[in-house]
Symmetry: C2
Subunit: 360 residues, 2 copies
């Protein structure tokens, strides 16, 4: 697959110009571009500029409001519920996370459920906002239904990711960020493009049978919850995805389960939606709400180095800490550029004419 190299700044500037052109404020365009390109720089290519035209199409379809009035509609000292006013999730999410952080400053922890929003980029970005404040950050979101519960052939849940960021002292932070499915949709798309087979346990066909057909999802099949099948604990992945759905959308008044709004603008909105838009859920916990921050972070250093030193299996170099691969990728790409495949470059270039912005 042919590709082109871009610097972080090129992708950031281009994305920011695009968000300005659709009417975002200077501050919101800056935030949205930072969140979006944080995916590319960390190696999660499926969630970065590859989605930029998708966001623009949502705006064209009037499913995204570029100048949202994001409001707290319910709160307590440690919680808030936000109405995202159909804003870009890329903008709504950092505002919500900031509210969680502010509440944590006051009462130890802060928890914010958000409805009436849209796709928010990578969960990890938002969770990591907590790190600078010596807080543990948590972020999750529901998403368009692609996943069948255990024993079902109906797509009821999104890939519903969870991110948890935990600060350390000398060691880099622990940053887990993962879909609650066996594999992400991004990985599946890579196999589809290559016409390669998927490992059993990633998808099922329209009758609920295990299949290695990476395109099964487009043939009335479904993605599978983490675990893959009942014998391998798919009921646990199904429970995790459900918890994300409920915290994000039932708590907030968002639209949940099979009624979550689709990301592709050409797919009609679900009928009889029980709530508004996508939902997210954020948490921030001050570590010094539990023990002195220095003490906690020293023990996190100890935790991380002990796990890094765990005896590797033969053929493996080392045991990784959640966040290691993305951080190494970030260093690599900051130094050497971000490869963007030709199909995505062509896609981005359609925005040049449409919005009068220049990619390079």
């Amino acid at each position: 697959m042919s590709q082109q190299l871009f610097s972080y700044d090129q992708l950031y500037q281009f994305s920011k110009q695009v968000f300005l052109k659709i009417g975002c404020s200077e501050a919101d365009a800056d935030t949205a571009a930072k969140v979006l390109v944080s995916a590319d720089i960390r190696g999660i290519d499926s969630h970065g500029v590859a989605r930029l035209t998708g966001y623009v199409r949502l705006w064209e379809a009037k499913r995204v409001n570029a100048i949202p009035n994001i409001q707290i509609i319910h709160e307590t000292p440690s919680t808030a519920t936000l109405d995202g006013d159909v804003g870009l999730g890329l903008v709504v999410a950092p505002k919500a996370m900031q509210i969680a952080i502010d509440k944590a400053k006051n009462v130890g922890t802060g928890w914010v459920s958000v409805g009436n929003s849209n796709h928010f980029g990578i969960a990890g970005y938002h969770a990591m906002m907590a790190l600078d404040h010596d807080m543990i950050g948590i972020a999750m979101t529901n998403a368009s239904a692609l996943v069948a519960p255990t024993f079902s052939i109906e797509k009821m849940l999104g890939t519903n990711p969870i991110a948890v960021a935990i600060p350390a002292k000398e060691q880099p932070a622990f940053v887990a960020d993962f879909a609650t499915t066996t594999a992400s949709n991004g990985k599946l798309e890579i196999l589809q493009r290559k016409n390669a087979e998927a490992p059993l346990g990633w998808v099922q066909d329209k009758d609920g049978n295990a299949t290695t057909n990476a395109s099964a999802l487009k043939q009335q099949g479904a993605m599978l919850p983490l675990g893959g099948d009942r014998d391998h604990g798919s009921h646990k992945g199904y429970a995790l995805g459900s918890i994300v759905d409920i915290f994000s959308a039932v708590l907030s008044g968002g639209s949940y389960g099979p009624w979550a709004p689709p990301f592709p603008a050409y797919i009609a909105m679900p009928e009889n939606m029980p709530g508004k838009g996508l939902g997210h859920f954020f948490g921030a916990m001050r570590v010094d709400a539990f023990r002195p921050a220095e003490e906690f972070k020293q023990h996190m250093d100890n935790w991380i180095s002990r796990f890094r030193d765990a005896k590797p299996a033969s053929g493996q170099n080392k045991v990784l800490i959640p966040g290691d691969p993305e951080r190494e990728m970030e260093t690599e790409r900051m130094n050497n550029g971000i490869p963007v495949i030709d199909a995505v470059v062509a896609d981005l270039k359609t925005l040049e004419d449409k919005l009068g912005v220049k990619l390079l």
Copy 2:
């Protein structure tokens, strides 16, 4: 396998007498017995009376303090850190959960990290305490290291379960309670007794190879994180188990990772423990801290019935909601008795002589 039937009350009374005999107060013995036997009645046989002699052996080895002085050692309006004073986790955990509930009453949510504790029975019991208060309950615990991280052959994490209980209105509550491994150790033990093979993905051998040998764990092998292997998302199960370990033991000052104290009293305590005892983590969130409780519970009813109606795969009757199997088991066993296998009955009878209590 031959077995004997007991009523809930028989197992509860016997367990309570045992806890009284080792010196627990009347109230603590009552709580400990209720938590313990809640596992048997819900069908999680590995965590019920099958473990009673194990708790007694821990007490004999002076690793359990029957009259603990459980203290809050750090707190904010929404958080607390507890020192369990080497108490039975069965007693420490409900006290901690009650503190989380009380904090949630005041500021919307409550979060309690507990160190210097012991095994706490089933996580679901503690999470479900929140339901009567129209709160979402969360419970997790670290445990003796049996699980190898992705790419490793060293046992670094316990089966580290997570439970989340969410109230509904007419529908029964959503109650997820699962180990962050592919399969629980209890299920593995059943296969070992039958000399049956385990599905690939449950355990690995001492060199880190996939194996169907259910006894691999006893032959220097290890249990595997949910996902099983890297291709099937084991790094996600590893991350989840790690988050449970850190929230439970690094936040609280407990002993984490490979240093978590073992449940079997004959296994020596780890050297150079970085903290005290096992750790747990509890959360309680008032649903009306996010939206009116009635509204939330109506939407939960809608969520639950929509998922229950999801189209089943061929050969499957229906889609289950987390908590369905345990609730059905509870009804069944309350009516017809709790089967206890002969090996466990014999084990319990050793307590008759030792402590002068009568099983039937």
